[in-house]
């Protein structure tokens, strides 16, 4: 149980693949112009992570150490192909919108990193759960960044959610404001870099706040000594 809690904490916050490990930045920065794109790529990455982590964990005692990396890559590539074909079949428009970035999930360092660092050393259940949590952490950042950029750039939220979730989702679209001249910077790559930097900064500030809060609690128990020397 403790391991599960630890894995969730690591994947979602403390060791978040996007905000802390800074892995998989290429798709992260490239496709997050809208929430839908971010969510789609995030879910695809999560599926691949769970699958590859579980498989790597199953075969971890059979694979010779010297050739483990090529084997991991082949496993990941297989799962990416599966996800790619699934998306091609069921969410065709999103598949077209994400384009090259679906096959490029293979090169996402977060996936091979988890396979190497965790899945190849731990039992199947934990490895799959680690994949799930890392994937969710990655997806959360993608969605957040997508929301920021979509809001600033187009003035909408959840535009085109029906591409991913089916026709009922077209009612999810929220138009915050309409403009004739979209804020192109937010939609273009510089906006992704600025937004990502802000997210990392916010996370660091929150971490510091929490650390200070805990530190303050502990300090309160320490008995203060009276200061006898003159203050200078």
């Amino acid at each position: 149980m403790n391991e599960i809690k630890q894995l969730s904490w690591q994947g979602l916050w403390k060791n978040n693949p996007a905000l802390v490990q800074l892995l998989g930045l290429c798709p992260l920065l490239a496709v997050t112009a809208t929430i839908t794109n971010g969510l789609g790529l995030g879910l695809a990455t999560t599926l691949v992570l769970i699958g590859s982590n579980a498989t790597v964990s199953i075969i971890r005692n059979v694979v010779p150490n010297e050739i483990r990396i090529p084997i991991f890559v082949m496993i990941i590539a297989a799962f990416v192909t599966v996800v790619q074909l699934l998306m091609n079949a069921y969410t065709f428009e999103l598949y077209q919108a994400l384009g090259i970035f679906i096959p490029l999930i293979v090169t996402n360092c977060a996936i091979i990193g988890r396979a190497e660092a965790y899945a190849s050393k731990n039992p199947v259940g934990y490895a799959a759960f680690d994949g799930l949590m890392m994937g969710l952490g990655f997806t959360a950042v993608l969605v957040l960044l997508g929301a920021m950029r979509e809001l600033l750039g187009y003035g909408t939220l959840f535009a085109g959610a029906n591409l991913l979730l089916g026709d009922w989702a077209s009612s999810l679209k929220i138009t915050v404001f309409t403009t004739d001249s979209p804020f192109l910077l937010a939609i273009l790559p510089p906006g992704a870099f600025l937004g990502m930097g802000l997210l990392i900064a916010v996370k660091n500030v929150l971490d510091k706040r929490f650390a200070n809060m805990f530190a303050a609690k502990q300090e309160a128990k320490v008995v203060q000594r009276a200061r006898v020397t003159a203050e200078t």
Partner: protein, 357 residues
């Protein structure tokens, strides 16, 4: 006796940052007045908007950073940034353009890097590039010179136009852009660039009604205004001659060589000097003490490289003018330039390999 201890350099005129920035602002006044005369009161409206935004942004961010915002505002650097940005954008651009730009300049480019003295990039120019990339339509709506327009605009019209997009009489920006003879006019640099692309020669391009000789009507006067202010700054020793000298020199050399090679397809040095915002850029923008090079030799290289880039982008690039892009490119190179142009320390000599000890 009251002995004053001071380290070198022993400058006798004691100026603090606020005084220096104020003098730069005063030096901008002739250019701003001429720009207002030729391009309408929109210029002043933009300046007011930008300064207000800059002050609010600077104060609130310094408050967030728990710094003394009163002192930082009294150094006038935010106001100078705001004015430089405001005079760079089209006078009748919508109000939110200058507000977003100034906020970006102060909050992102200056304060996120650590405030005055720590910004790697020139705030006004980084914001200008951001605006140009984000809002290409609004950022290129330059009006023709007032004497050529069909509708004269008063200060009330300017305020209405900036705030709502229409003047008090209901003319839209597109109508304001019309000249007396019913054409929509571009800026001098744009006109020549388009003309050359259409197969006209340089001389034929100059026949357009916005030119008087090779100088754009109005534009050259504005440049003269900034030139006067810039020369005053050099005289008052606020800036050194190295950066503007390097910039204008490189521009004259590049333009001169190409003009001599083929005078039909390349504009003359005079055209390049006084049209567009080269003079403003050379004396007021590239000389930003924080983001420019700090050694004398480095300053010449820095300025000359900016002049070179401006010529290259103006002539072969996609944009008609390129002060902002060139300054930003060379801002990135400043650490390298400074590293290789460190002056010899007094009493030390270069060794055989030319490396400094």
């Amino acid at each position: 006796m009251n002995y004053k201890l001071a380290s070198s350099p022993h400058q006798h005129v004691k100026r603090n940052t606020g005084q220096v920035m104020r003098m730069v602002i005063y030096a901008l006044i002739p250019g701003i007045l001429l720009q207002t005369w030729f391009f309408g009161f929109g210029v002043l409206v933009q300046i007011v908007l930008a300064v207000i935004t800059a002050l609010i942004t600077e104060a609130s961010i310094l408050e967030l950073r728990k710094r003394d915002f009163e002192r930082a505002i009294k150094d006038y650097s935010a106001i100078l940034t705001a004015i430089l940005l405001a005079i760079s954008i089209p006078p009748f651009a919508p109000w939110w353009v200058v507000v977003i730009g100034t906020f970006f300049a102060i909050a992102m480019v200056k304060q996120l890097y650590g405030g005055l003295g720590f910004n790697v990039f020139n705030p006004a120019m980084a914001a200008y590039v951001m605006l140009l990339v984000s809002f290409p339509v609004q950022m290129t709506q330059w009006l023709p010179v007032q004497s050529l327009t069909m509708h004269q605009s008063s200060i009330v019209d300017a305020i209405y136009a900036v705030m709502t997009g229409f003047t008090a009489d209901g003319f839209s920006l597109a109508q304001l852009q019309n000249t007396v003879d019913g054409h929509t006019m571009a800026t001098p640099l744009d006109a020549i660039k388009t003309g050359l692309a259409q197969g006209l020669t340089y001389e034929e391009g100059l026949q357009s009604s916005i030119f008087d000789g090779s100088l754009g009507i109005g534009w050259s006067w504005v440049s003269m205004g900034y030139l006067a202010g810039g020369l005053y700054l050099i005289r008052a020793r606020i800036i050194n001659w190295h950066i503007p000298g390097g910039m204008l020199g490189a521009m004259v050399i590049c333009a001169g060589v190409m003009f001599l090679v083929d005078g039909d397809r390349y504009a003359s040095p005079l055209f390049h000097l006084f049209n567009g915002s080269l003079i403003l850029g050379a004396f007021f923008i590239a000389t930003d003490p924080v983001s420019a090079s700090t050694t004398n030799r480095g300053r010449i290289i820095f300025g000359a490289a900016i002049g070179f880039w401006i010529y290259v982008i103006r002539t072969w690039g996609g944009y008609p003018d390129a002060i902002a892009f060139s300054v930003l490119i060379m801002n990135m190179a400043v650490p390298l330039i400074d590293y290789y142009t460190r002056p010899r320390t007094y009493g030390h000599q270069k060794d055989a390999k030319g490396e400094r000890r």
